[in-house]
């Protein structure tokens, strides 16, 4: 057989890093996963028993959720600034932005916990009706993804203190958590618009 000089360790057919490729493919499949969950909610939310004599969608609190959406969006901004920092070799800024991303992400989770408690108090639980089942499953799965993301971010943050040299000239690890984090954000963008805004459209609620 004909041989070239032995290929270097980092040779790839496309020139792209394996892990980055993996992350994009993984995120693509997660689109399908969340798409199914969103579809299941949208199909089933109407066929639900009423809560306090009105549609369960009346429980959705748009102002509060707008705030939590804003918080998550800003966390994405913090994330991209973290990636930017590591690109420039600025480890100190990397740590600050990673911390802020995790903080804002946790803030979003607190909003979610608050909202879930509110609904349960009003009588809407995961087992109450189809709206409840599908809504809590969808937002719960999303929240779990956010939680995993926060843990990942904090782990990277801790490593940036213990082994900062790992990040010099090597943005891949921050890049990867960044891609995951932005994905979690865009899923929420879809959920906010479709489940909360479109979902409340045309629903009559008493006060």
């Amino acid at each position: 057989m004909e041989y070239t000089q032995d290929v270097s360790h980092e040779y790839t057919s496309t020139g792209l890093n394996h892990r980055k490729l993996l992350m994009w493919i993984f995120l693509g499949s997660e689109c399908l996963f969340f798409g199914s969950l969103i579809a299941t909610h949208m199909i089933n939310r109407g066929a639900s028993d009423l809560i306090h004599g009105q549609s369960p969608a009346c429980l959705l609190d748009i102002p509060v959720t707008s705030a939590s959406t804003f918080v998550l969006l800003m966390s994405s901004l913090a994330m991209v600034l973290a990636v930017n920092a590591v690109d420039r070799g600025n480890i100190k800024n990397l740590r600050i932005w990673l911390f802020l991303t995790a903080l804002l992400g946790s803030g979003f989770l607190l909003f979610q916990v608050y909202e879930f408690n509110l609904f349960v108090d009003e009588g809407l639980t995961i087992g109450t009706n189809l709206f409840g089942s599908t809504f809590f499953t969808l937002t719960g799965v999303h929240g779990t993804h956010v939680t995993i993301g926060v843990i990942w971010l904090l782990s990277v943050l801790i490593i940036s203190f213990i082994r900062p040299q790992m990040f010099i000239g090597n943005p891949l690890n921050v890049d990867l958590v960044g891609l995951y984090w932005h994905f979690v954000d865009i899923v929420w963008i879809v959920i906010f618009t479709v489940v909360y805004l479109v979902g409340s459209f045309g629903v009559t609620c008493a006060g």
Binding site: E10, T14, W24, M74, V198
Partner: protein, 99 residues
């Protein structure tokens, strides 16, 4: 293993660019909420809201996730599946009436 930026990737934008994108995203969200509350669009509300969220989705993917500047293969892998997921979502929505 040291990983360097792929040679064909353009140099990354300055921080202010990302802040600008963040501001635009916030403004779009505010518009969405305004359109919802003011109820000015009537039956166009759903397409407007969905259209705005598609723009936000695309901006985060293209700029924050850097997809616009990266190798086309990533776009192929991601959008093919996002397409599938989106179609599934939209398709099942239209097939089964809501109320």
């Amino acid at each position: 293993m040291v990983e360097h930026r792929h040679p064909t990737e353009k140099p990354h934008p300055q921080p202010w660019f990302y802040v600008a994108v963040g501001i635009i995203l916030t403004v779009i969200t505010a518009i969405e909420v305004a359109v919802f509350y003011l109820d000015i669009a009537g039956s166009l509300m759903m397409p407007i809201l969905i259209g705005l969220s598609v723009i936000k989705f695309w901006m985060v993917v293209a700029f924050f996730m850097h997809l616009k500047y990266d190798h086309k293969l990533f776009t192929v892998f991601f959008y093919w599946r996002a397409n599938f997921g989106g179609r599934g979502c939209a398709g099942s929505n239209s097939v089964v009436p809501e109320f």
